[in-house]
């Protein structure tokens, strides 16, 4: 029966090509626009570490002075070096890592390369295990290496390919910023998007190529970058140090806690820590702590650009108009065929059969519109990729979104077909046939 309905649908659609084209086009344009913006939104609001993100937390404490203190003020988004080291050494979580971004000059031995700068991450031993960073060769460094200010470095596969043609470079020496480091590990491709562990350096399309122990980098006065929040009168630096003063928060601290109970206990620990620091006179404010998990942290930071959200909403409004338009056109088309439908009714077709026949026809329009919409979405994403924004390169259609495209197109067209089909099969056949 379905094949017969399909045949009828195709015949009917062929009969009025302009109207058919208009309906298919309306659905295609609506679907194309929605899928383009939805794909960008989907890519940007994705989970950077699926399966792991629920166990990663970002603690915040409030070491600020009394100036500008108001109830409900939020703690700074980063930690000071002192608090970071205290929390790191307290080891109250399953894993913890303190980190900061920077840039270091790489000075290759071979004369084939000029020296060049790469983005670097100064962090502590647990970083790799905590964030599931995959190693191609070797491994990370240990907590003891952290305390010993070891000249150890982990590089990415990309840098390994460039400097050592992709060979296992562990154990080899690398000159960075005038000091000699030993390569202990090479990371495989690892590009979490968004760059969740430090949003201050850019949320998307920012990748470090060098990872080294934080305390080593601090000792060598390597340049840091990222945001600095200061209070009191300390803008820039401390005398004799290349880094922000003790009244500045500029490092990121992450912990791994594998159960909600542990998270609750860790929050208590943060409150205790704040109280203890207040007793010592370092903190002035009442304990003001936050412990957000990874996805909450991304949400709190509004990582997805508001323009992207605006465009997604706009595109859905657009799809809605296209749908209303299609409903109107289908209504016109189906009602025009009252005569033909009445003949079928008179010959014994049930209303249900007519309804199924008409919905098949709208389904065919939906599939055609979906295919057109897919082409338009691919074109739209290609245009998005050509734009220089930092997330542009990520805009690709994945199989999941491909399925969503067709589901949306089919669903939308069937929805649009319901009212016209229902009205058309309620036409009373006797009256129709008589009036002709």
């Amino acid at each position: 029966m379905f094949a017969y309905y399909l045949d009828l649908a195709l015949r009917s659609l062929k009969r009025n090509k302009v109207l058919t084209a208009l309906m298919v086009l309306a659905i295609a344009v609506g679907i194309g626009a929605s899928m383009t913006t939805l794909t960008v939104l989907h890519v940007l609001s994705g989970d950077p570490l699926p399966g792991k993100s629920g166990e990663l937390y970002y603690p915040q404490i409030d070491p600020q002075d009394a100036r500008g203190m108001m109830p409900g003020t939020l703690p700074p988004e980063q930690v000071t070096l002192i608090d970071g080291m205290n929390l790191l050494r307290a080891k109250r979580a399953d894993r913890q890592a303190l980190m900061e971004g920077g840039a270091v000059p790489i000075q290759p031995d071979s004369s084939a390369f000029d020296p060049f700068y790469v983005e670097a991450r100064y962090t502590t031993a647990d970083f790799f295990a905590m964030f599931d960073a995959p190693f191609r060769y070797g491994h990370g460094w240990s907590g003891a290496d952290d305390e010993a200010h070891a000249r150890d470095v982990v590089i990415t596969r990309q840098l390994d390919d460039k400097l050592f043609n992709g060979a296992d470079s562990t154990g080899r020496a690398l000159r960075i910023g005038g000091s000699t480091f030993r390569i202990v590990g090479v990371l495989d491709d690892w590009r979490p998007n968004p760059h969740f562990y430090d949003l201050g350096t850019g949320s998307y399309d920012y990748y470090e190529q060098v990872f080294m122990p934080l305390q080593t980098a601090l000792e060598l006065h390597f340049d840091r970058n990222g945001s600095v929040d200061c209070w009191g009168n300390g803008t820039g630096g401390q005398e004799g140090s290349a880094y922000p003063s003790p009244t500045c928060a500029w490092l990121q601290f992450w912990v791994e806690l594998d159960s909600p109970a542990k998270a609750a206990a860790y929050k208590q620990f943060l409150i205790h820590y704040s109280e203890e620091q207040k007793t010592l006179g370092r903190f002035v404010r009442a304990p003001n702590v936050q412990l957000r998990d990874l996805m909450q942290w991304l949400d709190y930071n509004d990582v997805v650009p508001s323009d992207v959200r605006l465009q997604a909403w706009l595109a859905f409004g657009f799809l809605l108009v296209c749908l209303v338009n299609t409903v109107g056109l289908m209504l016109a088309k189906f009602m025009r065929r009252s005569g033909e439908l009445s003949v079928r009714r008179a010959l014994g077709a049930s209303r249900r059969a007519l309804f199924a026949q008409l919905l098949t026809e709208s389904g065919v329009i939906g599939i055609a519109g979906g295919a057109g919409g897919l082409l338009l979405a691919l074109l739209g994403l290609w245009l998005v990729r050509r734009r220089p924004s930092d997330y542009a390169a990520l805009a690709h259609l994945d199989p999941e979104m491909l399925a969503v495209t067709f589901a949306l197109a089919l669903g939308a067209s069937l929805l649009a077909g319901i009212l016209p089909a229902w009205r058309a099969c309620n036409v009373s056949p006797a009256l129709q046939l008589k009036s002709q």
Binding site: L19, A26, D114, Y117, T235, G237, D307, R309, Q311, M335
Partner: protein, 410 residues
């Protein structure tokens, strides 16, 4: 034209009527909000920076080796001397940032050192005695820096300089009575800085939403910032020699000292490119909104044509009867035009409410500004015209139905 019979006829086509009205309403709501956004973004795009954009370019220069601050300072002075000697170059300066670079350095400004709430926020530029001439800034009060006021400074040891040049926007914000020259303020430090000069206009280094309230509020401190990573050179070419100057400058710097990294792709940018990058997302959004508006209007127009054509086809016999009873072609034409006006009128009335509602919702969700009702008015006019335009062809066809149709059976 009598409205009563039209309404009676529409009652026979409730579903179609409601659909067209709804489509017009939704289109109006989206189109006027989109127009509002486009206008906002386009205004934003054309904001002046106050600098000689046509002849300016910037060089992002990084040091290839880790040197001391003294070495960096000596190298920067040598580089500036090299740049200023080039035949196509008028002047050059080194700075931490430049207008529209995106990001950059900003300080909270207070009138007293122990003030709790900031008075305002200013974009911070560091420059030497050549800064004003290089950027082409107009000094409207006071004087430029003297050579003895310019000193090197490490970004790690920031000490507030005693003198500062500010923009008129900042001066007026701090001293609304116009007496800013010679007065002082505090920029997150215990020591004050005194205003010795005021420039007419200088855009901030970032034009993000958060900094909108502080537009054009910027200050210049007489320092060479010896960043150990690198610095920006801002170069002003002689009129009409921008391209030559851009070529000469890069070659000149590399000839001066090879131990530097100038990105081959975006190490040297003309100011036109800087502006293009800074406003790229605004331009992109405006274009996208424009396309969506246009396509939406076309689809709505096509929908009206489609449904009206259907109605005309359905009513051929009635039209024939009316014509046989003495109605002129013009009467039939007016009938369909009035019918469309009634439907579109209902649609835009609903649409105006939806448009304002949508704007209120976006103000809450996406931090949008309040839309002026003029946009709604413009949208109403556009949609009513669109409706009349779309209905014209089917209505004309209807008016040409011959009276003889009355006697035929279909």
């Amino acid at each position: 034209m009598q409205i009563q019979p039209i309404l009676a006829a529409l009652r026979q086509h409730k579903a179609g009527t409601v659909l067209i009205a709804l489509q017009i309403a939704l289109t109006l709501a989206i189109v006027c909000n989109a127009l509002f956004i486009i206008h906002q973004r386009v205004t934003h795009l054309s904001e002046p920076t106050g600098i000689d954009e046509a002849n300016l370019f910037v060089i992002g220069n990084q040091w290839a080796d880790q040197s001391s601050a003294q070495q960096v300072d000596a190298q920067m002075q040598a580089d500036l001397a090299t740049l200023r000697q080039l035949p196509a170059v008028r002047d050059a300066t080194a700075s931490n940032s430049y207008p529209l670079v995106g990001g950059g350095w900003d300080d909270f400004i207070t009138m007293t050192p122990d003030q709790v709430q900031k008075t305002t926020d200013a974009s911070v530029y560091f420059g030497d005695t050549h800064f004003l001439d290089t950027l082409g800034l107009k000094l409207i009060a006071g004087r430029n820096f003297r050579p003895d006021e310019v000193a090197p400074m490490s970004p790690h040891e920031v000490v507030t300089p005693p003198v500062v040049i500010v923009t008129r926007a900042l001066a007026d914000k701090l001293y609304p009575d116009g007496s800013a020259l010679g007065k002082s303020f505090y920029a997150m430090s215990a020591t004050p800085t005194t205003i010795i000069g005021i420039v007419a206009r200088l855009q901030r280094s970032e034009v993000d939403t958060w900094s909108r309230p502080y537009a054009y509020q910027a200050l210049i401190w007489p320092r060479r910032l010896d960043g150990t990573v690198g610095t920006n050179y801002i170069v002003r070419a002689k009129p009409g020699q921008l391209e030559a100057a851009m070529r000469e400058a890069k070659q000149g710097l590399i000839a001066q000292n090879r131990m530097r990294i100038i990105d081959p792709k975006d190490g040297v940018l003309s100011f036109a490119q800087v502006r293009h990058r800074a406003y790229d997302s605004d331009r992109g959004t405006a274009i996208l909104m424009g396309i969506i508006c246009a396509v939406l209007l076309v689809i709505t127009g096509a929908g009206i044509i489609g449904l009206t054509s259907f109605w005309v086809g359905q009513r051929r016999k009635q039209i024939g009867i009316r014509r046989a009873l003495g109605a002129t072609q013009r009467d039939i034409l007016h009938y369909f035009q009035t019918e469309n006006l009634l439907i579109a009128g209902a649609g835009v009335a609903l649409g105006a409410i939806l448009a304002v509602g949508l704007n209120l919702w976006m103000m809450k969700q996406l931090a949008m500004d309040r839309m002026s009702l003029l946009y709604v008015l413009a949208g109403v006019v556009v949609l009513l015209l669109l409706g009349q335009g779309a209905v014209f062809a089917p209505a004309l066809r209807a008016s040409r139905v011959s009276p003889v149709e009355a006697t035929r059976t279909v």
